[in-house]
Subunit: 144 residues, 2 copies
């Protein structure tokens, strides 16, 4: 009645559980640490980072929301609200896109840029701690 997984399936499940553990450890720690120290969620930081990277491409800290969407693993509605939060916090500015007035262009403010620069070391540190080693367990705090 209870069929066993084939070896291939068992390997896939093991891989999945490893991925779940790593993701949980990193995401949980990132959310808590970035939230406590910089008022940013994991995805908020991710969006700021994309805006900073967008700078290298077009010279301005600006991106269409529709261009941002595929890179952040959130629903359209969640992204919309996340941007609203960032705007409320004064980290980004929403402006109508001139070439397509349905679209919204995000601009990183100086405060947004600064917040990102401040948060980045902690972000990298958490990744180092949760992904660098092999164990991938728990939700440890990187430093006092």
């Amino acid at each position: 009645m209870a069929e066993l997984d084939s070896p291939a399936e068992a390997g896939l499940v093991a891989q999945w559980r490893e991925l779940l553990a790593r993701h949980a450890a990193a995401a949980c720690t990132l959310d808590r640490e970035l939230g406590d120290r910089f008022g940013l969620g994991m995805s908020e930081f991710e969006v700021l980072e994309r805006l900073v990277e967008g700078c290298a491409a077009n010279g301005a800290h600006a991106l269409r929301v529709s261009d941002l969407a595929p890179t952040v693993h959130l629903s359209q509605s969640a992204l919309s609200r996340l941007i609203a939060r960032l705007e409320k916090a004064g980290l980004v500015t929403r402006a109508m896109c001139e070439s397509d007035r349905r679209g919204i262009v995000l601009t990183l403010t100086d405060a947004g840029r600064e917040r990102y620069e401040q948060a980045r070391p902690l972000h990298r540190e958490v990744l180092e701690l949760t992904l660098g080693g092999e164990p991938a367990k728990g939700c440890e705090v990187p430093s006092g």
Copy 2:
């Protein structure tokens, strides 16, 4: 003003983004497919699976909630409510633990066992599609 990541940091970030993409693809698809076809969330399935595995260990589909907790990447409160949902759906039974009356022993019902067996092929199929290949993008539906 904008310091670049060291090569080590850049690699870590790349690894993190890859992990995020894989996790999002698999988790999103699992939740939607298992939800649509079996009324189960990803974590609900995971809990049923641990109960089934627990069978091999002690002969009964029973586990302490406190033993289950470390294997599921949820807060204690989220797990408590998840179990309440499973119980409401008739898939598990909650009983007081005799040796430690603070504890709760979960028992898989026949319906729970059956639901798990029905859902498992789809679960494995989704993992195969989202983790098996290298791309790790999007939220595709495994089959009609």
